[in-house]
Structure formats: structure tokens, C-alpha cells
């Protein structure tokens, strides 16, 4: 059993999340679908409401008080985001809709100018579709090749394949920091070094890591990193692309429109400086302000404390689940190799049937292919059930969940 460290006060944190008070099907909500999206604390909900109530205005070009306040709050959130992942400069933070859009931006803007026929793009079999399909589109357009790194039985990336696949024809290596299915935390520092040794750039999909652990873009030395606000207590519709200044400055725009230009004439236009070159049109101002408030909230809890809490609850859940007859758990055995994500199957119960049965107990889990069909095919299952934790989840909730698994087993006469 993992020793209790009490890094955070869960019952106090739960007070900050109004939704956790609600009942589902007459039972207290057990929200174990955090890898899909997290719940939002009052501080974030109020920050968004305050923008609309008190200083709603479009940003940057307005010469009036409200515009000034809105611009300040928007740019303040950019600085907070930069500090949160230890970026060297705020202008290395580009606001996008989500991690998916961030990867599409890189694949289109950087990809189309730097990737050609015969070049190689190295990704892994455990990627979310968002880190596969943009590269497939780029490969179709350019004639580049995609190579997938496979995993071991424990759900770890095959080091031998990494070393073989990444070569001098490799233009970019794009890897998830933490798998949304297996929970595996990948050795991004060493993969980045390997990429750079061969002159390739390194993109990290940090959608499942930035909300849950200390992530440092300069320590990892990645060229690009993407993450989504809604998985880290912010509203949906806001995400971040981090890019090294030297790359962003050379890249052509992704979307054209207002804000991203310096001058526009009938025959030509010149581009604004970064980050604005990549933020065409009115952005999700409220979303960005919400993200800033979420980062403040996460900093108050302490991201390292959240990580320790989640490792503890993951260890507890792994040991509890293993006591349920007929359960098969996927991914690393040790909680230290994981974020708080556990995928599993129970007997021959299909994941959707299991999710329906647990829903009746007020337990929200995810079921299906988790937008990772190549991984499902590689492991050889059509679907999995997944639970995923955040700062507000408790071991008591794990007990409720384990109890419900037993009920599902009895219902299906396993």
C-alpha cells in the first residue's frame, strides 16, 4: 500500500467544484472521466462571468477602458501560461482552440514548408488521433512517410524501435507525453535528444501531462508542445501551442484574417509578429481568461502536490481493481510510470455496456476506442473502459467504483 502523504486536502478542494455536489441517478456523482475533460472550479467559472459582466470588449485595437482591461487580462493569461510550462518568452505561447488545433497548425504551417517527398515523420502507436491524422494529411500532401513506434507488453515505448526509426531522413518526431489510454509517461527528454541528434524537430502532445504534473518545455527541450485548457480546469475551446521562437518566427501563418497582419493591400499582406501571426480573428477571450484563472488555481494547489495525490490514488485503484474477478488492466504495472489513467476490460462485457451499468451507479467513466484506434488494433481489442483521476477524486470513490464493477460482473454472470 502506498503511504498516505496528504499533499492536498481533497475534501476542501471538492468544495471548490459545484458540480461535484450533484447526484446522478440518485447517487452522488463519481467523476472518473477527467482525461476526457476536467470539472471547473468556482474561481474559473467566476473569472469568465466577471469578464462578461464587467469588462467585455474586443482586445488589442480598442482605445477605450474596457478594451484595455480585456487586453491586459488576455495577455496576463499568456504570461501565466508561459510560466506554467517554463517557456522562455510569452510570445512562444499561441492560443488555439485545443491541442488538436495546435498540432494541425504545426503540421500545416511548419510541415508544408519543411517536409517533402521521402522525408520521415515518426510518431507512436499510442498516439491520440489528433497526433496521427494531421501527419497523415501532411504525408498525403507531401509524399512523406510515417513510421509508428510500437509498445512493449507493459505499454512502454520500444526504445530499440525509437533508435532505429529516428534517422537523418526524419523531419519531426511527435510523441504524446502521457498516453490518454495506457497512462504511460513517455521519456520525452531522451526522445527529444534522439530527434535533435538527427536534425529532426520534436513535438510533445502534453494534453494528458500538463494538467497533472510539472512540465518544463525548456528542460524537455521540445520544439513544440500542445495542451488543452478544458482538461486542466479551464473552459472548452481554449488550448495552447508552445513553439520555440526561432521556429515560430520563420513559419508562415496558418489562418489568415484580422489580427495576424501588419499591413494588408489589395495585392499582398505582411504578417504580424508572433504570437499574433498565429491568432487570426477575435480569439476566445473569455476562454483565455478562464485558462489564466485555472492556472492560478492549479498553482495554489501546487502541480507537484496534484501529481503525488494522483499517483497515490492510481496505486490504490490499481490494487483494488486487481481484486475484481475477470479484470484485465492495460499499461504500465507501476503507478510511477503513469498519470492517473487506467484502462481495462472486465470479462466479456463490452466497454459500453459497462459504462451504462456504472452510470446507473452515478459513476462517469469513458468507454470505446478513446480516439486511439491504432492502439486498440495493436493490442487487439475493439474497446476499453477507462477511469481517470484529478485532484478532487478520493479513494472512497475508488471503493464505490470497485463495488460497482463487482455488480456489473454479477449482472453479466461472469
Amino acid at each position: 500500500m502506498v503511504q498516505k502523504l496528504d499533499t492536498i486536502n481533497t475534501s476542501k478542494i471538492r468544495e471548490d467544484f459545484p458540480i461535484l455536489k450533484r447526484q446522478v441517478n440518485g447517487k452522488p456523482l463519481v467523476y472518473f472521466d477527467n482525461a476526457a475533460t476536467s470539472q471547473k472550479p468556482t474561481a474559473v467559472i467566476e473569472a469568465i462571468a466577471s469578464y462578461y459582466k464587467n469588462y467585455n470588449a474586443n482586445i488589442h485595437r480598442g482605445i477605450h477602458k474596457l478594451a484595455e482591461e480585456a487586453t491586459l487580462a488576455y495577455e496576463d493569461a499568456r504570461e501565466k501560461s508561459a510560466k506554467f510550462v517554463n517557456a522562455g518568452y510569452p510570445e512562444e505561447i499561441i492560443f488555439v482552440r485545443n491541442a488538436t488545433e495546435g498540432i494541425n497548425l504545426v503540421a500545416n504551417s511548419w510541415g508544408r514548408t519543411n517536409v517533402g517527398k521521402g522525408d520521415k515523420i515518426v510518431i507512436t502507436i499510442m498516439e491520440h488521433h489528433s497526433n496521427i491524422v494531421p501527419w497523415q494529411l501532411l504525408a498525403q500532401q507531401t509524399g512523406a512517410q510515417i513510421e509508428f513506434i510500437e509498445i512493449t507488453d507493459d505499454g512502454m515505448l520500444r526504445q530499440d524501435q525509437l533508435e532505429r526509426a529516428i534517422d537523418n531522413s526524419t523531419k519531426i518526431v511527435a510523441v504524446t507525453h502521457a498516453s490518454n489510454v495506457l497512462g504511460t509517461i513517455n521519456p520525452v527528454n531522451t526522445i527529444g535528444k534522439l530527434a535533435h541528434r538527427h536534425g529532426a524537430l520534436f513535438l510533445v502532445d502534453a494534453a494528458q501531462s500538463v494538467p497533472h504534473m510539472k512540465v518544463d518545455v525548456r528542460d524537455i527541450d521540445c520544439d513544440f508542445m500542445v495542451f488543452s485548457g478544458h482538461k486542466m480546469m479551464s473552459p472548452t475551446g481554449i488550448g495552447v501551442l508552445y513553439g520555440k521562437r526561432e521556429h515560430l518566427e520563420r513559419m508562415p501563418p496558418f489562418l489568415g484574417g484580422g489580427e495576424m497582419i501588419k499591413e494588408v493591400h489589395t495585392t499582398n499582406a505582411s504578417w504580424n509578429d508572433i504570437p499574433y501571426k498565429f491568432e487570426a480573428g477575435t480569439p476566445d477571450i473569455a476562454g483565455v481568461i478562464g485558462l489564466g484563472a485555472a492556472i492560478d488555481y492549479l498553482n495554489r494547489l501546487g502541480i507537484e502536490n496534484i501529481h503525488v495525490h494522483e499517483q497515490q490514488i492510481t496505486g490504490y485503484a490499481l490494487s483494488k481493481i486487481s481484486t475484481v474477478e475477470g479484470v484485465k488492466v492495460y499499461g504500465p504495472k507501476s503507478p510511477k510510470d503513469r498519470v492517473g489513467v487506467i484502462s481495462f476490460n472486465l470479462g466479456d462485457i463490452h466497454a459500453h455496456d459497462l459504462a451504462s451499468i456504472l452510470d446507473e451507479e452515478g459513476i462517469a467513466i469513458r468507454s470505446g476506442h478513446h480516439c486511439a484506434q491504432p492502439l486498440m488494433e495493436f493490442i487487439g481489442v475493439p474497446a476499453m473502459s477507462r477511469i481517470s483521476f484529478y485532484a478532487y477524486n478520493t479513494e472512497e470513490e475508488v471503493d464505490v467504483f470497485t463495488e460497482a464493477l463487482g455488480k456489473a460482473g454479477r449482472l453479466f454472470k461472469l
Binding site: H350, H352, D353, I357, D359, H369
Partner: protein, 135 residues
């Protein structure tokens, strides 16, 4: 939805699907998936004198999708193509004996959709919007 939907009969069809497998000499084979959840159903029909002479299905997915597809194959065997085309959502719910609720109704109707695609395909007719919207 309540877990009452997992009645013995549904579990029985899930674990021991009737008319499961391949139909050699099938006149038409149609496969479709529910992209939201990945459930897959393939229907294979042998048609004789305007009737479904024989039928098999294959698939992967939840108990609701697989059981309802299997039950449907039993229902349409021997029926005319017109009768098969006339089957609707309520017929499937009657077969299952439950209402799977709004999130799982698509699981229940995937088999019906594939069956209709097969019949329309065999007749060389274009599929109606009603069929396309089943799942």
C-alpha cells in the same frame, strides 16, 4: 437507462448469437459501423423469389448491438424484401423488450440500418434519409 436492459435474453444472444458467421453464396454483403463507439455489423443475405431465404451476420460491439442484430436476422428470415424494408425502430425495441435510452439507442439500431442498406442495395434502390439517420 437502467441496467434492467441486461435481461437474460439479451445476454444469451450476446454470448450465443444466432445466425452468426458467413453465408457462402450470399447475394449481398453490407457492413457498417457506428463511428462514435466503433460497433461494427455486417449482414449477408441470400435472396430467393423476393424473400430473404437465408441470412448471417458478423460483428463486434456491445451486448445491445450484437443481440439486436442477431434477433433481427431471425425475424427477417423468410420475410419478403418489402416486409424487411418496412421494419422500424419500434420493431427492434419490441424484439429487445427494453428501451435502451437516448445514448444507447444507436447501438440497438445499427443492425437494422445495415439490414436495410443490404435490402436497398440488393434492389438497386437509393437509400432513404430515414435509413441513413437510424445510426
Amino acid at each position: 437507462m437502467s441496467s434492467d436492459i441486461y435481461k437474460d435474453i439479451i445476454l444469451d444472444y450476446y454470448r450465443h448469437p444466432r445466425n452468426f458467421g458467413d453465408l457462402p453464396n450470399a447475394d449481398i454483403r453490407v457492413k457498417d459501423a457506428n463511428p462514435l463507439c466503433g460497433d461494427v455489423i455486417e449482414m449477408q443475405l441470400k435472396v430467393q423469389d423476393g424473400k430473404v431465404e437465408d441470412i448471417r451476420f458478423k460483428g463486434k460491439g456491445c451486448a445491445i448491438s450484437q443481440a439486436s442484430a442477431s434477433m433481427l436476422t431471425e425475424t427477417v428470415k423468410g420475410k419478403t424484401l418489402d416486409e424487411t424494408k418496412a421494419l422500424g425502430k419500434q420493431d427492434v425495441l419490441n424484439l429487445l423488450g427494453i428501451d435502451p435510452g437516448p445514448t444507447r439507442i444507436k447501438c440497438a439500431l445499427l443492425g437494422l440500418k445495415v439490414m436495410k442498406l443490404a435490402v436497398y442495395g440488393f434492389l438497386g434502390q437509393s437509400v432513404t434519409d430515414e435509413v441513413k439517420q437510424l445510426v
